[in-house]
Structures are given as structure tokens and as C-alpha cells.
Symmetry: C2
Subunit: 352 residues, 2 copies
């Protein structure tokens, strides 16, 4: 993983690997304005709940640097406008709002300091955004360690979408568990659902695991049940975009179906996510907003129509997996198991 | 459906709509040799269990017409070679073998007739192949009528792959049930799984239903569970490539997962297929050979790589749905329900 990165701060802007172009090309974008950063999130140049949070944090830091404000009030106003724009990008992943709130609170503290200046607030925000990225990698490594006991020697691990280094500042959540097992010397292999419509599994999970030398095989989403029936899958581990207080999980469309299938076949179903993905203010999954995206991502591939013109499509980007189907939630503070209302609240309340 | 057809006999060869090019282009291929017909089946220019059977029947008739045999023994030998080649095309759909056996038995009778000649056998085979096509359409219409009582007014019907006019000589099996309901004036709408990797749902089911003015919406395969959970699907109806004596069903990869999901949500799961899809000589689904197809159909789309080079894929083209998950099998002779060992044997034994 040393020869590439998902996103990072630079003096020239926010630099990120354009995930729309993988695996065909490795192109790094340098995004100057908040608007460009917001559009990169909306268009899936960067995606994955923790990475979206990191991108938003970098976006606010960028807004501070670009601001022409001469005084603190003007700077606060510019930061609020930037936060509003970034918050509008995608509704489901709660890490976006978590990062914006954390950066906002930090900005308020910096603005309120005795000798605060536009320059000092800028410096605080740039440092804070970079710390959010560094922390995200540490958190992912801790998730990997927490999940390690769940992965038997020789396991075939099914994952959906990409909850890897590309979905975080590095290392990954679901793929963090895989990496931890691999680094511990366990012979594991990954089956990656291709994950229609955006092919995060086929394009991204396959790409980053191949880069790390971890055995990976791609399947279409509709093959998982068949392989489970043939006992070719030992466990499922996925990421999450938001986890409600009762343990219901919002994640990439298709996750819920996999959870039902895993239960049917007696296969453990794990959700790996940082504490920042918990949303204890949302009581249950049905209260989580599900983003509906546009027609083209389903109806066209590489700009070629797959669906006849005039035929409508549906495009819910996420679904809700009820807590009863989740064997455990793997966080950087350890595992949560049912009843989740208790276990998640307890993990959330632990100090780091 | 009057302005297009799936396949038909002509003096110049077997004419079929190239399903690889739909929905972008409507191209009819005229296939001269048995080898061309076999390759059209292998490459999915024509697909769907009943249509494969029809194509094989037309192929044998074509072999008779092309044969340079001067006597009946030489003709028999040419026909056997053609049947052997056609039987090698695809292993799972039993209609292929059913059609070849039916044509072979007819050839034997024609060869054994008192005044048999190369010409008379040719004529018999051409007539028999055309009758198999005509019968297939009648059978599909009867399947539609048998399934009609299963479709409530206003139903949202999920289907997988294409078990429509394009999978038969016309009208369809699963889509025959939809067409019968639509023609009976019921307001129905179809949700079509796109059906990776070949997109039979997005490309073919959407195309033929749009042509008939039947409302259809395309979803990716991994959306079905989410829509079931939201009570947006009233019933599932799919076709079959082979049905074992105990009622286990081989059908397009992804069917089994849908059946599990339908059961989980209390949604009826119907299999619509002609009696020729029954294989009472095969005791159960695990004895049905599952075709494994090549990498490119999964790893590339429109000749562009989706999966990184060097990353393997899996490609089982079919899966097995155990009989316990099938609410009813809809045939041209009526419905079969559990216990299927009895009900299927009974339907199979009925005279037409």
C-alpha cells in the first residue's frame, strides 16, 4: 500500500485517487475549491463512509485556506457555507456529518481562543483535518485487530462493495479485518461481490487486494447464494454507512440480501465500522435516509446503454440490514453483539 | 410482438434475432451450417431453454437439408454427427436434449418408413422442427393461462433473467404468465432483475416488454431484497433450464438467492416452464450439471475490463433452487405443487 493512497492534504488542494477510473487508470485529482471537492464526493471519485468524512474534513480545511476573510466573523461565515455545501453531497453515510461537526466544533474553539486570528484558525483546521485522516488509519488497524479472532485459518471471506483502504484514509474496515488476518499469517481468500451498479467490488476491492497480494476472486452479486449453498463461504464481512442505535445497518445496496442469505446458510455476518459510523441519535434503520441516485449509473455502462431507452430503473444506493441478522459489529473499541442497543451504547461511551 | 421474432426456419438457413446485440441493434442472423447454429447457441446469440431446444431442432432439420448423402445410412450418419455437435453446446438446459431426442426419434421413424428416401426424411425433419416451434408458442400460451390465477390485479411481479418470447419460440414462460395477466386486463408491472453477467433482464426482458407496452422497471440483482422488505414485490416468477424429479429447479444464476429471499418475505415464488423442461430421469438438483462459462463475460463489459487483469472470477451460469422454496411450478398442463415427486410425475404422464 506504500505506492498509492486514497486521499491526502497538500498545499495545492485536496489530492485524491479518482476511483471512477480504477482499475483502468490510476489518476490523482488535485481539487482546488470546496465545490470541486463536493462534486468529487457526489460523483463517487471518492466514496466509502470514512473516506467521505475525511474528504469533507479536508474540504473544510481547504475552505479555511481559500477564504479571503479579513476577520473572524467573515471566516466563520465562509466555513459555514462550505460545511453546508459539503453536507449536501450525500445523505446516508453519517461519517460525513460526524466529520463536519467535529471540524465545526474545532473551528468554534479556535475562533474563540484569546489571540485567535484568521491565520491561527486556518492552521488549526488544516492540522485537525490531517489528524482525522491519521486517526482513521489507526482506527482501521484497531478494527482489524478486533476482528482478527473472527477469521479462521483458511477462511473464504465474502465481502460486498469496497470497505477497504479506498473507502477510508487507509487499511480499510471490512478489508482491515482481512488485512489483519493476512498479516497474521492466516491463509485467507476473499470473494468480492462485483457490486452493481458502480462495481466497487470488481473494480476497487479486487484492485487494492491484488496490490497487497491478498488472494481475491470476483463474483457477480447474484452468485453469493449459490456459493454459500456449496459451503464455499465461511464468513461475510462488510462495512457500513451508518449504524442506528438498535444495531440496524445502512450499507451498500445488496448488503441486506447477503445478510438474509448468510443467516439461511448458518454463516456469520459481520459489520466492520468505526465508532464514527454509529448514529445513536437515529433509533432504527427505517429512520436512516436512503440515497436514490440517478438512472445512468444503472442503465449505462461506460456510457453505453444496457437498458433500452425509455425503460425506467430504480436506484436505491443503500439498504438496511436489521440488527437481528448481524452476528457482530467490529469496531476499533472491540466487538458489539446483540442486544445492540446496550452494546453499541457502551462502546460509544468508552473513552479512546 | 408481430414485428419481430426470436427464431424461424427459412430455406436459406436458420434465422434468429441476435440477442447479444439487443437492445442497441435488432440484427437477424441467417445461419447456414450446423456449426454456425451450434456457435450461436454457445455464444448466447440465442438462449433460453425452450429457444435452445427450438434452435437445435432447426439445426437438425438444416443438417438434413445440407447433407450430401445419397442413401439413408449416410443421412443417418450425418444427422448423428449434427446431433452430437448440437448436444455439446450447453449442458444445463434439458430442452436441448429433449428436442434432439424428439427429432432423432422422428428421424428414425422416417428412415424406417417403407418408401423412405433422403428427400422424404428431409421433409419430415423440416416439418417436425417447424412444428416444435409452433407447439412451443402454444405451450407458452397455455402456461400463461395456467398461471393467470396466480397474478392478482395490480401485482408487482419480479422476474430474473429472460424467460420471455426471446427465450422461446414466442410468448414466453415466466413472461407468458405476465402477458396472460396483461391481456386479461390486469394492471401489472414487472420488475426485471438486470441479471449479471449477460444482462438478460436489462437488455432482453426490458426490450420485449417495452415492445408489448407492458410496464417494466429494471433493477440491479442486488436490489430485490430491499424492495421485498419494502413490500414492493407481490410475487416472483422465473423460468427454468431443468426441473428434476423432486422439483429442484436449475435456472439462471441468482434464482436460488431470490427464492430464499422470497421465502424470507412471505412472497410466492413460481417457476413457469413447459413439460419439456422436466427431467424425471434426474432425481434431484445436485445431479444437474451446472455450466461454468468463461471469464470474459464477468470480467469485461462491451470489451472493456471491469475486473483488474490477473484477478480471477467465478462464472457458474446456473444455480439450483431446492423444491421446498418453490410455491408452484406452472406448466402447460396446469400447476404442480409440493410434493413435487408426485405432482410432476402426474403432469408428465398426462396426455396432451
Amino acid at each position: 500500500m506504500s505506492d498509492w493512497f486514497t486521499l491526502r492534504w497538500s498545499e495545492d488542494g485536496v489530492v485524491l485517487l479518482d476511483q471512477r477510473q480504477l482499475p483502468r487508470e490510476e489518476v490523482y485529482l488535485t481539487l482546488d475549491s470546496v465545490e470541486e471537492i463536493a462534486r468529487a464526493i457526489e460523483s463517487l471519485a471518492v466514496r466509502g463512509a470514512p473516506a467521505i468524512g475525511c474528504a469533507a474534513a479536508l474540504g473544510l480545511a481547504r475552505a479555511a485556506c481559500l477564504s479571503a476573510a479579513q476577520d473572524l466573523e467573515a471566516l466563520r461565515s465562509d466555513l459555514e457555507a462550505a460545511a453546508t455545501r459539503l453536507a449536501r453531497t450525500r445523505p446516508t453515510a453519517v461519517n460525513l456529518f460526524w466529520a463536519l461537526e467535529r471540524m465545526g466544533a474545532l473551528a468554534e474553539r479556535a475562533l474563540a481562543e484569546p489571540h485567535a486570528s484568521v491565520e491561527s484558525v486556518r492552521g488549526s483546521l488544516v492540522a485537525a483535518a490531517q489528524e482525522i485522516l491519521a486517526e482513521d488509519v489507526r482506527v482501521c488497524r484497531a478494527i482489524g485487530q478486533a476482528g482478527l479472532p473472527l477469521v479462521p485459518e483458511g477462511a473464504s471471506i465474502l465481502t460486498h462493495c469496497n470497505a477497504g483502504a479506498l473507502a477510508t484514509a487507509g487499511y480499510g474496515t471490512a478489508l482491515g479485518v482481512v488485512r489483519a488476518a493476512f498479516e497474521a499469517g492466516r491463509k485467507v481468500r476473499v470473494l468480492a461481490d462485483e457490486t452493481r451498479p458502480f462495481f466497487q467490488g470488481a473494480r476497487l476491492t479486487a484492485w487494492e487486494l491484488q496490490r497487497d497480494g491478498i488472494p481475491v476472486t470476483v463474483i457477480t452479486d447474484n452468485m453469493a447464494a449459490h456459493l454459500m449453498r456449496r459451503a464455499e463461504i465461511d464468513l461475510v464481512v462488510v462495512g457500513a454507512d451508518r449504524i442506528a442505535a438498535n444495531g440496524d445497518v445502512a450499507n451498500k445496496i445488496g448488503t441486506y440480501g447477503l445478510a438474509v442469505l448468510a443467516r439461511e446458510h448458518g454463516i456469520p455476518f459481520y459489520v466492520a465500522a468505526p465508532i464514527s459510523t454509529l448514529d445513536l441519535a437515529t433509533p432504527c434503520g427505517d429512520a436512516i435516509p436512503i440515497e436514490e441516485r440517478g438512472r445512468a449509473e444503472v442503465a449505462e455502462i461506460l456510457s453505453q446503454p444496457i437498458v433500452p431507452e425509455g425503460v425506467p430503473v430504480r436506484h436505491p444506493a443503500f439498504d438496511i440490514t436489521p440488527a437481528r441478522l448481524v452476528t457482530a459489529v467490529v469496531t476499533e473499541r472491540g466487538l458489539a453483539r446483540a442486544p445492540y442497543a446496550l452494546s453499541l451504547a457502551k462502546l460509544s461511551g468508552l473513552s479512546r
